[in-house]
Every structure is written in structure tokens, then in C-alpha cells.
């Protein structure tokens, strides 16, 4: 018998009054995976996170955590979940150990079993030396580590992370994800993370892309990028140049597909040998002339995937939504 998936969401819909935040979202997360929900602000991922965390009442659809219905048995679901919120949930007036002890109490842990588990996690997260420091004395990265340690005390089967490294510098972000990979491996915890950061999305085993309340793609980051074909040439226009006009010019001259967003062109370079690519690049530069400020050749990024699936760029998706 195959075990039920760690998370199973079917046809989730959620409305705030008349505004639709989630419009029929379905996905499964198998046990042991690091699953990412990538979407810009306003894509519905915070709503989805709150539904998963049992902090919003379900309106429509079916949600199961490791085979338990989130609607009928929310207490059991809460025991199966570990949650790290986007906003810190540490009490800064308490020490690291006091924060952990308190969290343990919330999950019915106490006495020597709790102390033992605390020691274990403090060691894993290299926090043993800081256990008696007040949480307010810790750096942002350390606080986050305490948050994760806290959420793992009761050995949850699924760990939910909401934009966990927003505001981190690249080093702190890399450190954080190294620890998460360790947790995933050592404790067998399934991890579901919401993010709007490409670096974070790249660390996931599988990724679902969310836009305006709908899932537009779901696969491994590598497969998603590969789906766009080969390498792409990206052209940034000089100030004051007409995007569509140049796009038409390039399209007719080269006979390739050209995607546009204001100030940018993206050309599919297809699968070529390095020499052929060089020639292609030279041809594009010649066509654009001084109308372009830069012409670069790159592997498709997750941003390109988002653009290809939704027809609008990732970062300014909010504006598109408001205009719609």
C-alpha cells in the first residue's frame, strides 16, 4: 500500500468577499520532498499557506495532511504540522530555551522528553551556546534558526515555511537552506515552502508556480527550465527605444520567436553548437545596433518560465492584476 501524500490539495478555492484569492488549486506533495510554491505578491500563496496552516477556515475544496482531513480533524492535522511563519513568532523577552520549552508545552511535551529533544535540536542548529540568551539579542539569521528548531520539537511530518529567507543576505540564505536540506534528510520531514525568491525556488525538489490564484506549472526547477527549450538571448533596450518595433524587426529578419516586455526582448536561441550560437548572437547584435544597451546569452531562468507560462513578468505581476 502506498502511503498517502504528505500534502494533498484538491480544487481549493478561497474568496475574501468578492475577491477571489484561490481559484481551484490542486497539487500533491509526496513524502520527503522539498516542495516550493513560487508566486509574486498577490498570487494567493499567503492565503494558501494560511489554509495549510489551519489558520483560515476552508471554503471550498479538499485538503489532507498525511491522510488526515484538515476540515474534519484540524487538531490531528495541527499535530502533524510544523510551521515557520513569515513574521517571527519568537517571544523576544524570553530566552532561546524558554521559547522552545513553551512551544513544547503547546504540543503536550514536557519534562525530560522535552529537555532531551530541545538539546538535540539546539545541537543540530548550532544554538547550544546561545540557549540562555534572550531572543532579542540574536541576529535575524539566528532567530530564524530558533524558529525552525521550535517548529520541529514535536517531530512534525510536514514542515511549512512561509517566505523563510526574505530579507536575508545571500550567505545567510545559503546557510539556512543547508540546514533545511539536513532536516529533510535526517528527520525525513517533508518541507513545503512558499517563496517569491528564485534562489529559494531553485533549492526545491519540485516547484508549483502560482499566479492570480491558479497553478500555472508544476515540475522540478530543472524540468521547468528545460521545457522552454534551449538557451535564450535577452536584449535590454537603450532608453527611449520602441520595444515592439525592434521586436518586429528582429522577428522578420531572423524568423525566431521573440517575446517582449517593456524595454526587453527575449529570443529563443534553440539548440545550437557554441559556434552557431556565437554567430546567432553576433547577428542579433548587428540587428539591434545602438538601440540595445545589452545583449546577453543565458540559460532560461525560473523568471523566464514564469513569463512563458503567464505572459507577464514576475516582478510586476501585481500591476497587471490591478489593471485587470
Amino acid at each position: 500500500m502506498t502511503p498517502p501524500p504528505a500534502v494533498s490539495a484538491q480544487q481549493l478555492r478561497f474568496h475574501y468577499g468578492k475577491r477571489c484569492a484561490l481559484d481551484g488549486v490542486s497539487f500533491d506533495v509526496p513524502k520527503g520532498e522539498i516542495f516550493g510554491l513560487l508566486g509574486p505578491n498577490g498570487s494567493g500563496k499567503t492565503t494558501l499557506f494560511k489554509l495549510l496552516a489551519t489558520l483560515h477556515a476552508m471554503q471550498e475544496g479538499k485538503l489532507e495532511i498525511a491522510g488526515t482531513s484538515a476540515v474534519r480533524e484540524s487538531t490531528v492535522v495541527r499535530r502533524k504540522l510544523g510551521i515557520v511563519f513569515q513574521h517571527p513568532s519568537l517571544d523576544v523577552k524570553l530566552t532561546v530555551a524558554e521559547n522552545l520549552r513553551h512551544q513544547g508545552h503547546l504540543y503536550g511535551l514536557s519534562g525530560s522528553a522535552l529537555e532531551q529533544r530541545m538539546d538535540e535540536l539546539l545541537a543540530t542548529f548550532r544554538l547550544t551556546e546561545r540557549r540562555d540568551d534572550y531572543a532579542e539579542k540574536l541576529s535575524g539569521g539566528l532567530k530564524r534558526r530558533v524558529e525552525v528548531a521550535k517548529s520541529l520539537l514535536h517531530r512534525p511530518q510536514v514542515l511549512l515555511l512561509d517566505e523563510p529567507t526574505t530579507g536575508f543576505d545571500p550567505t545567510a540564505r545559503r546557510e539556512f537552506w543547508d540546514v533545511m536540506a539536513l532536516v529533510n534528510r535526517q528527520e525525513g520531514t517533508t518541507i513545503l515552502v512558499t517563496t517569491h525568491l528564485m534562489e529559494e525556488a531553485e533549492r526545491c525538489t519540485r516547484l508549483a508556480i502560482l499566479d492570480q490564484g491558479q497553478l500555472v506549472a508544476e515540475d522540478s526547477p530543472a524540468a521547468l527550465k528545460a521545457s522552454l527549450g534551449g538557451q535564450a538571448v535577452s536584449v535590454t533596450l537603450s532608453a527611449g527605444q520602441e520595444t515592439e518595433e525592434l521586436a518586429m524587426h528582429v522577428r522578420s529578419a531572423l524568423g525566431v520567436e521573440v517575446q517582449t516586455r517593456p524595454g526587453h526582448l527575449r529570443l529563443d536561441a534553440g539548440q545550437h553548437t557554441p559556434t552557431e550560437l556565437g554567430a546567432f548572437l553576433a547577428r542579433v547584435m548587428e540587428l539591434c545596433g545602438d538601440r540595445a544597451s545589452s545583449v546577453t546569452l543565458a540559460q532560461p531562468s525560473l523568471e523566464d518560465v514564469f513569463f512563458a507560462k503567464t505572459g507577464h513578468p514576475f516582478l510586476i505581476s501585481d500591476m497587471y492584476q490591478e489593471a485587470a
Binding site: R79, K80, S89, D91, K93, R117, R185, T205
Partner: protein, 286 residues
């Protein structure tokens, strides 16, 4: 990419830490006790809060009490008592009120961007959250009230030791009811500013019309009518029973049993309302 490596699930991760780890009954006493403890520890670590809740009522008491002094003779005031003495139990109620407000004001920030998020997502009964928070505030209110009570002999206000348990019991009920009231107001509030507005137009008048500043018997009849619907009036009258035994203040007052009964109903209603709002407002919508 979707298959999991063989070494991923360790036996540890599969065996739950407790026999009841996957029970569908929400936890109650341990989380409630833990929340209460947190409330007290936090308070003692923030000296400004101790000063804020205790110092302002004492300043009120000294300035208003001594300022009025003997210049106004309130009708219905017991013979031989200064206004300072009359104002003493009212100040006790004010200390309880201020402590309750300070203890619940953190809820707004805590619930959507702080500590309470984790509590709400834990397998904890909503009643335990209310009880832990409210009992925490009540313990703080009692601690501060006791400090102030120690000042009573200084102004010649004496009462027998045997009255102390009664006074503490009344203060406990007042603390419980007012902290729960604070909780009910704070939980659905949008901002600290909004909460403060409610405090100014609702909680302060509630206190002013409790008999803290003037006795019931000398007030205009419409004020008397309002006072009869004010739970704090019954709290204060109960305190008068213990502190001003046999005084003229108590001739027309409701009986002690009635006062305690009203207070108890007030507490129960507020705690029930607290559980109600916790279930209803599950954190802010984006």
C-alpha cells in the same frame, strides 16, 4: 525528481514522541499554564510596564486624593474618613484596570505578526488560550494591587487581617473580568490606536462610574441608574464591605452576596465572549 532517496525517512521520524501524539482532543491545561507563566515572566522583565501600571494610579490617588483633601465633603461619605481614604479602593480597581489593559494590548501585534500565530496553529483548545492569557493578566493585577494595599496603613486606613482574603478574592474576580473584557476588545481590533480610543470612551468611564471617585448615594439619579448596570460598581461595593465595615456608605448598597454574584456572572460572560472572538477572528486577512 519526485522519488525520495532511500535514506530519507529515519525510524525516529515515523514513531511519534507520545502515545497520544495524534489524538484529536486539543490540549488544555499544559498550554494554559505555559501561557500564564509567560505572561508573568515577560512582565517582570519589563520594568517600564511595572511602573506604568502601578505608578499612574498612585499618582492619581495622591494628587486627586490630597488635592481634594478636606475641601469637599462628599455626601454619604463615612465620618472621619478623608477623601484620600475614600479614593483608596477606587485606586485599587484602577490598578487592576490598567494592568488588564496593558496585559491585553499586546494581543493585536502578537496575533498576526508575532507569538500568538504559533499558539493559534498549535493543537490547543481556544479556551486554553483565553484562560492562559486572562489568568496571566489577573495574576499581574493581583501582584500590583497587593503592593498598593501595603500602603493603606500609611494613611490610617486600617482593616482587620481577616478582611484580606475577601479583598483579594474580589480583586481576583475584578482582574479576571477586566482582563477578559480587554481580551474581547483587543482581539478583533485593528490597531493599538483604536484600542486606546475604546479605552478612553468606554473603560475609563466604566471606572469613573463605579463609585471610585464619588459615592453612589450622592449622585444624580440618572448616574445612579447607569451605575447599577456597571459591573465595576459591584466590585467596588464589595471592596467597601471589606474595607469600610459598618460605614454609612453601605446602608443602601446591594448585599455582598449580590455583588459577588454579579462579578462572577461578568467574569463568566467575558471569558465565554473571549472564546467566541478567538474562534471568529482567526488572525487578520491580508
Amino acid at each position: 525528481m519526485t522519488t525520495e532517496p532511500k535514506d530519507q525517512a529515519t525510524p525516529q521520524a515515523i514513531i511519534p514522541p507520545h502515545g497520544d501524539a495524534l489524538s484529536d482532543r486539543p490540549l488544555f491545561w499544559l498550554p494554559a499554564w505555559s501561557l500564564l507563566q509567560r505572561e508573568v515572566v515577560r512582565f517582570l522583565r519589563q520594568p517600564t510596564r511595572v511602573i506604568g501600571a502601578l505608578a499612574s494610579p498612585i499618582i492619581f490617588w495622591v494628587v486627586i486624593g490630597s488635592g481634594v483633601g478636606m475641601s469637599i465633603k462628599l455626601q454619604g461619605m463615612p465620618e472621619g474618613y478623608s477623601f484620600l481614604a475614600y479614593f483608596f479602593p477606587g485606586t485599587l480597581v484602577l490598578i487592576v484596570l490598567f494592568t488588564s489593559i496593558f496585559a491585553t494590548i499586546s494581543i493585536m501585534a502578537d496575533r498576526s505578526e508575532g507569538f500568538l500565530q504559533a499558539v493559534l496553529a498549535a493543537p490547543v483548545a481556544r479556551g486554553a488560550i483565553v484562560l492562559g492569557k486572562v489568568m496571566g493578566g489577573t495574576v499581574l493585577a493581583l501582584l500590583q494591587a497587593c503592593l498598593f494595599l501595603a500602603l493603606a496603613p500609611m494613611i490610617g486606613l486600617t482593616f482587620p487581617w481577616s478582611a484580606l482574603p475577601g479583598i483579594l478574592a474580589v480583586l481576583f474576580l475584578l482582574g479576571l473580568g477586566l482582563t477578559a473584557l480587554g481580551y474581547v476588545i483587543a482581539w478583533p481590533s485593528e490597531s493599538v490606536a483604536g484600542y486606546q480610543a475604546i479605552m478612553n470612551v468606554m473603560l475609563m468611564p466604566l471606572w469613573m462610574l463605579s463609585g471610585a471617585l464619588f459615592p453612589y448615594s450622592g449622585a444624580f439619579s440618572w448616574v445612579q441608574t447607569v451605575m447599577l448596570f456597571n459591573p465595576l460598581y459591584y466590585g467596588l461595593t464589595a471592596l467597601h464591605y471589606f474595607m469600610f465595615e459598618d460605614s454609612i456608605l453601605l446602608t443602601d448598597a446591594p448585599s455582598l452576596n449580590f455583588c459577588v454574584g454579579v462579578l462572577t456572572i461578568f467574569c463568566a460572560a467575558m471569558i465565554a465572549a473571549g472564546i467566541g472572538v478567538t474562534n471568529k477572528f482567526h488572525g487578520r486577512q491580508p
